[in-house]
Symmetry: C2
Subunit: 214 residues, 2 copies
């Protein structure tokens, strides 16, 4: 069938069919695979089959965090834009990104820190913010881990997927090795990105919905 | 040096140094390489060294299109968010994305087309819109090519980088094989994305700036 004649939901279904067929035996449990598959759908990159890392029960707990309506914090406007409002609206989660706020820019200048770090510090001051989606800045993820250890943040879910060549892989490792009792999704290596991080939330939002046809 | 102590511009410089070193002999001319390199910086994916495709002189002509202040159209809010306003502000380009507009949703319903197609049709009605940045929807790129052939659109630059498993690779090929006399950047295969498409514009904006230190 010509893709131009297909509806978006048909294209998505056909895309998932192709991904399933090409991935073959992948070893992921069914629910976790929904997340991996949507990341591949967003990136056309099968490397994520082997490199994504999820804490035990993080899909179930991530769904609960969404259903609880917790505020979602992103490190970039791109990740914020990539999260499907249609999919999360039923749960009432707000999505915020403070990286371009004037007070954050001021604090960053004053303290000699990155705006990404200052934005995380601002985000954790609001206790409603419990879901952290980091797709760009390693410093944001390092800072979030530091804030948790300092007792200043208590996330219900961390999507830790900075991308790049300086600090990204190390920030993923820092999240895994921190031994936090917090559900997380990250990646081995340099890859990640705002699009990939948003895709994780969108996949969880589908899984969290009361009816699979929604 | 610890990446946490580095400034963003130092991190970028070091990232580019690593990319240059790992890419080795790549065969891209210097200006084109600035674009390829920023795509890799955004995706951590060296596959783009071999798979990106640019029309002759597209970097020079793309820079001219930005300098002319032409309106930029994106197919997603993510691509719109990913384009650095700081980098293009000197040229005065507006950036628009019509995919979530109410009238676009209405037209899509009425005519049985995707919102991405309806959004492209709306965008070309405004003659100031001459730069098209497509990072998600194959139907948007197919439609843009159709509109050009029908004499209803006259882009000065096309960044054609839909991603995915149904129609994306075909839309890239359609752009290449259309034989249009319009500068374009696309990719061989399924990869692309809003982040990658935005990175292309950001790279061109750096090259188009009057002084390399800006």
């Amino acid at each position: 069938m010509d893709s131009l004649q297909m509806k978006p939901e048909e294209i998505e279904r056909e895309s998932f069919r192709i991904i399933d067929a090409e991935a073959g035996e992948h070893g992921w449990p069914a629910d976790e695979w929904q997340v991996v598959r949507r990341v591949i759908h967003t990136s056309a990159d099968f490397e994520y089959v082997r490199s994504l890392v999820m804490s035990d029960n993080c899909v179930r707990e991530g769904c609960e965090a969404l259903r609880a309506g917790y505020g979602i914090v992103t490190d970039t406007r791109m990740a914020l834009s990539g999260i499907s409002r249609a999919r999360i609206s039923r749960f009432g989660n707000r999505v915020v990104c403070h990286v371009s706020d004037d007070d954050v820019a001021g604090e960053a200048r004053e303290r000699g820190i990155t705006r990404s770090v200052a934005a995380m510090r601002k985000a954790v001051r609001d206790e409603r913010n419990r879901i952290f989606v980091i797709g760009n800045a390693p410093t944001a993820l390092f800072e979030l881990v530091r804030l948790i250890r300092a007792g200043k943040a208590e996330p219900a879910l961390i999507v830790g997927l900075p991308v790049g060549f300086v600090g990204a892989a190390e920030s993923h490792e820092a999240l895994v090795s921190a031994g936090l009792d917090i559900p997380f999704i990250t990646n081995i290596g340099r890859k990640g990105g705002s699009n990939v991080a948003a895709a994780v939330i969108n996949a969880l939002a589908v899984l969290a919905a009361p009816c699979p046809c929604l």
